[in-house]
């Protein structure tokens, strides 16, 4: 598991992590509170993320490629296309001849496109935050803007052990591949789908148990070094005046964008 952070000396990288976290949250809020079908506003939001990507020199390609992560979220909104209030059977020639009819709703389609676009842009914003801020700075920033210690600790530990568990998965897959052989003669290797699914299920279960045990060991090791649930609080430096100006300007811009969205959407 490698960090998504790519180092560069751009102004976006240099910005106080707290400012970036707050601006990202405000961005997500204003974008997702924008009503559906506010297409001009969406385009402005998209151009905002892409401009920041250019400014940060992480590349628009990087952001767009990574934002494919949003695809599964989009799928969740897909049923809207078929269940909207104005759903009408779609008159496709081929479907009609087969005797099938699929109800398609124009309103639903609009809602789906709005949700898909917004989740795509939202993921881009998160990628920009993670790509321009060191993970540790991000954790500290989250703590400093008031996220409870427990949440910050969970996020930090999850990040720390994800790679350990990832390696465990890799070793299990290797061990399985080593025993996935073919016999000489007429036998067909591979086994039935149900059997393979059961094996995979067994692997997932075993991984879960091992992770659970590991978490116990990690926790004991933390306790024995004096962990008491509190992260050591770092000296709180106030956000610098320049950074505060950027924060205010950013929030104002996002508020304006949101108002624009209210006017253009439905």
């Amino acid at each position: 598991m490698q960090e998504r952070y790519t180092h560069s000396s751009s102004p976006v990288h240099a910005l106080d992590a707290r400012v970036k976290v707050i601006l990202t949250l405000v961005f997500l809020l204003s974008l997702n509170l924008t009503p559906i079908s506010a297409w001009p506003a969406y385009i402005l939001y998209l151009s905002l993320t892409l401009s920041v990507a250019l400014l940060a020199r992480v590349g628009t390609g990087f952001v767009i490629k990574r934002s494919a992560l949003a695809l599964p979220f989009m799928l969740a909104a897909l049923p809207l296309v078929f269940t909207g209030a104005d759903a009408r059977p779609l008159a496709l020639p081929l479907l009609r001849e087969l005797g099938w009819s699929v109800p398609v709703s124009l309103q639903g389609l609009e809602r789906f496109a709005s949700i898909a676009l917004r989740s795509w842009i939202s993921v881009q914003a998160a990628i920009l935050l993670a790509g321009t801020t060191r993970f540790n700075d991000l954790l500290t920033a989250l703590q400093q803007i008031g996220l409870p210690h427990l949440f910050v600790a969970i996020i930090g530990l999850m990040w720390r052990y994800l790679s350990v568990i990832g390696e465990e998965v890799l070793r299990m897959l290797r061990a399985r591949a080593s025993r996935s052989a073919s016999a000489p003669g007429r036998y067909r290797a591979g086994g039935s789908l149900a059997w393979r699914a059961r094996v995979t299920g067994g692997m997932a279960g075993s991984l879960f148990l091992r992770s659970l045990e590991r978490s116990d060991r990690v926790y004991s090791a933390m306790l024995s070094r004096g962990y008491n649930g509190q992260q050591p609080v770092e000296g709180l430096e106030p956000i610098s005046a320049a950074n505060r100006r950027i924060l205010l300007a950013g929030v104002a811009l996002l508020a304006a964008l949101w108002l624009f969205g209210l006017l253009t959407g439905r």
């Binding site: 070793r171 061990a175 080593s178 025993r179 073919s182 000489p184 036998y187 290797a189 086994g191 094996v199």
Partner: protein, 237 residues
């Protein structure tokens, strides 16, 4: 009768990790049928990386032949049946809810008929002296027991070569002694990566030392283990 050809033949094997670091650097090694060989070397010398090449889990540059078959994609299935790899951590290898299912994985994957699978599981469990453990959950076994079951899971594929990565690591003295006795009993050709020099002395007539991804020495165990300077140079004492 077939003339003696190496069971495993490695020619000029070189491997870089994805991050560009060189792990293996021009390895040449021939393993004759029936040989028992130890592979020793400091941490990071490339032992495990070399072992993972022998059944194609990793693929570097250079040539590997197993029983005359070139190690390439088309032969992977055959070669994995010939080469039984026992991993260091048995938990990586045991993932079913019963010992039986784990030992049956290899033959079942090969598509063998049910009666044959049963017979092979029985024979493999007998060979590691764990025949009454078939219905147990591998998760609840002791370290030494898990190790034996892990060996049974490859024995059930009737391999010609057994490859071990640190077989005695983490075992208590008795479990270790019993495991070494078991390895003595098993008739297969063996390649054992280990830090356990007493095991090397007791078990394998031939020793290969790896250092920084290359073969630093290859010869009779008695000669190599007596060469204090050689051992010191390669971080073994």
């Amino acid at each position: 009768m077939r003339s003696m050809q190496p069971l495993i033949e490695i020619q000029n094997l070189t491997y870089h990790y994805p991050d560009g670091k060189q792990a293996l650097n021009g390895i040449n090694l021939a393993v004759m049928p029936g040989e028992k060989i130890s592979l020793v070397g400091a941490n990071g010398a490339g032992k495990s990386t070399l072992l993972l090449h022998l059944n194609g889990v990793l693929t570097g540059e250079g040539g590997i032949k197993v029983d005359g078959l070139a190690l390439e994609k088309a032969n992977l299935g055959r070669i994995r049946a010939l080469v039984g790899l026992v991993f260091q951590n048995p938990d990586d290898q045991l993932f079913s809810s019963t010992v039986y299912e784990d030992v049956a994985y290899g033959p079942t994957y090969q598509g063998l008929p049910h009666s044959e699978v049963q017979q092979r599981v029985q024979a493999a469990l007998d060979a590691v002296h764990m025949d009454d453990y078939a219905s147990r959950n591998p998760y609840h076994l002791s370290g030494g027991e898990k190790k034996r079951i892990a060996i049974a899971t490859v024995l059930s594929m009737q391999p010609q070569v057994l490859i071990f990565d640190e077989p005695t690591a983490g075992l208590d003295p008795r479990a270790r002694r019993e495991l070494i006795a078991l390895l003595h009993e098993l008739p297969q050709t063996m390649l054992i990566a280990t830090h356990d020099l007493p095991l090397v002395e007791q078990l394998t007539p031939r020793t290969v030392i790896l250092n920084r991804g290359a073969v630093a020495a290859d010869g009779p165990t008695t000669r190599i283990l007596r060469d204090a300077r050689l051992l010191d140079e390669n971080g073994l004492c």
